[in-house]
Symmetry: C2
Subunit: 362 residues, 2 copies
């Protein structure tokens, strides 16, 4: 931990030099956790070649000492983190140009920089920490793998309990309890349990709808361990699958398989997306795959890189990405199969071990 933090900090400081700033104000909480280990919900971090200052409030006094130790100078503010920041920066005579995270600061707080922080020159920066986070180290990979193990275990415990007549909310309850029992520290996003025609809504939440015989049942959920996430989707049929359900399922399954085995570091996000999309189009379902193939994941469930038609950037070696093709026919139903995949030097490793063949429940 201490080692990986020092390595990350060194890499970030190289980025500061390239961005021509004397220091960087970090307001993104996942970025702060990545750099220091602090997992609280209220913090500001200042980084320069000479100083590393982490500011939080009194609620986190005990926790911050445990998590950060003496890696950063810690300041506990009784009232405003911002007042604390100005105080902490005042003695740094070397400081003229300070970067800030344009994608992680509200206009209201940006105004503070221009007013209370007017003695410094503020320069917007983009993705300095996110670029580092894209390449997972061995410790991070192990945690994402563990979060995948929890997700698989929870799904194995859940599916024998699904019955016709249960509501989607009840299934969500069984799934979430199974995630907790398997050790998940949280839910990285609101679980989606979508049945029957509702499985055709790519962003359905769970509802009071009762499951009927012959329904598709789509579960999209994740586990969290030490801040790292998994993100998994499986689609089942409750009862016997009709031929058309089997056909659509099989197209999505092959698209998932092709993409999960074909994705490589160095490829553009667009080319990765095309592996699944081209196959689904060939099979005549192109119009029904309306979203992109996937996204990076780690401390956040959506982070760099993107796997999409519009993603021209190349996928970094060490990234973990989701592969989640789907086919959605409005009013009828939808299928999505989603795995988490590590892009290693020797090709992809699929981190999600739950089977991908069609399972009929009940």
């Amino acid at each position: 931990m201490a080692d990986s933090r020092a390595r990350r900090l060194t890499a970030l400081i190289d980025g500061l030099t390239a961005a021509h700033v004397d220091g960087l104000l970090i307001t993104s909480l996942p970025n702060i956790r990545y750099l220091t280990g602090f997992s609280g919900s209220s913090a500001l971090l200042f980084v320069s070649t000479r100083d590393l200052v982490l500011i939080t409030d009194f609620r986190y006094q005990t926790q911050i000492t445990e998590e950060v130790g003496d890696f950063a100078r810690i300041s506990i503010e009784p009232q405003s983190l911002w007042a604390g920041l100005w105080q902490q920066l005042a003695p740094f005579t070397y400081l003229e140009v300070v970067g800030f995270e344009s994608g992680h600061i509200l206009h209201r707080d940006f105004q503070r920089l221009l007013e209370a922080g007017a003695r410094w020159q503020w320069r917007p920066t983009v993705d300095l920490v996110e670029t580092l986070r894209e390449r997972k180290d061995a410790g991070e990979l192990a945690l994402i793998q563990a979060a995948n193990g929890i997700a698989t275990q929870a799904l194995e415990r859940t599916i024998p309990q699904v019955r016709v007549g249960m509501s989607e909310l009840e299934v969500a309850g069984v799934l979430e309890k199974s995630l907790r029992d398997a050790g998940s520290e949280g839910f990285p996003f609101a679980s989606i349990v979508a049945s029957g025609p509702r499985s055709a809504l790519p962003h359905a939440h769970s509802s009071a709808r009762q499951i009927e015989d012959g329904d598709f049942l789509l579960l999209d959920f994740g586990a969290e361990t030490k801040g790292y996430c998994s993100d998994v989707t499986r689609t089942f049929v409750v009862g016997h699958a009709a031929p058309e359900q089997r056909e659509v399922y099989e197209v999505v399954r092959v698209a998932n398989e092709n993409a999960a085995h074909g994705v490589r570091a160095g490829m553009t996000g667009r080319d990765a997306d095309a592996i699944a999309r081209d196959y689904i189009e060939q099979r005549g379902y192109g119009d029904l795959f309306g979203h992109s193939l996937g996204h990076g994941l780690g401390l956040e469930v959506h982070e760099a890189p993107r796997l999409a038609r519009t993603a021209e950037g190349t996928l970094a070696e060490g990234a973990v990405v989701t592969i989640e093709p789907g086919i959605y026919r409005p009013g009828w139903g939808g299928v999505r199969i989603e795995d988490d995949v590590f892009l290693g030097p020797d090709g992809p490793t699929i981190l999600t071990s739950f089977p991908r063949e069609l399972i009929e429940l009940g």
Copy 2:
């Protein structure tokens, strides 16, 4: 629903006139939900005396029609909501000065206003919609009451299942499943299950710690129904309560009771806070009540008003606020008792019906 939306819109338009803007760009999703009924995770809303335009992406095509109907002009954007916004605003020849929500727009998106939106003059606004949201109407109050009913029901189902040796995560699983079974559409925040010495951490998350005989067990959680939240805390003793536990519990219970019965619309947030704080100080525990007394709740679990030593504003009639005093002794444990209270014209109504007397579990 249609009626309350029209009423809210009229009130907001009065606010626009007072703020000297010709229109307002709304980027806060809860504010958009409040004004239009749309609950998706991606939207921009433009409001003026003449136009109401709601922009989202293709994923929400079906949902937005169901939720919004013809109350607003709906625009579905294939790529960027922002590109859609410029297109929608272009024909509005009356538009010169446009307000934006300073507390709900990232610097990155503010830059878009100055660049792609340079033909308009942009003016920051603060809390125009939040001020309206502070006063709940009868429909909103009924939903918060329903979310409190779900929370109470879930807690009643959970506590008979708590045993020495269960982990906090397992208790969280039972609680969250009970919330789902009682119909909660989501979890407004990460449930806190904190046992023994961990109950002294006001922002503990649930951990793998196993519950021991004689522990305090603190549960802080909420339910959600049609977007509206509840936020409830109860603290139990597992096994027999020691005299010191009873004493601390009783101080918190009386502080909660005094504040829940004493809080009034028209009071400052500071005076409300003082009802509980003064009592806890008199009893000699003032140093151990480190946070503020409460906060508003509704579509968000933290919204206006604040009940705190630094809150000089007065509490609006119609607000729903939490009353959550606590005493935390590091290394030993803590007690917090939290209810949701409606500030009506004739005084406070406590919306949380779960008992407040000390309960020994198991």
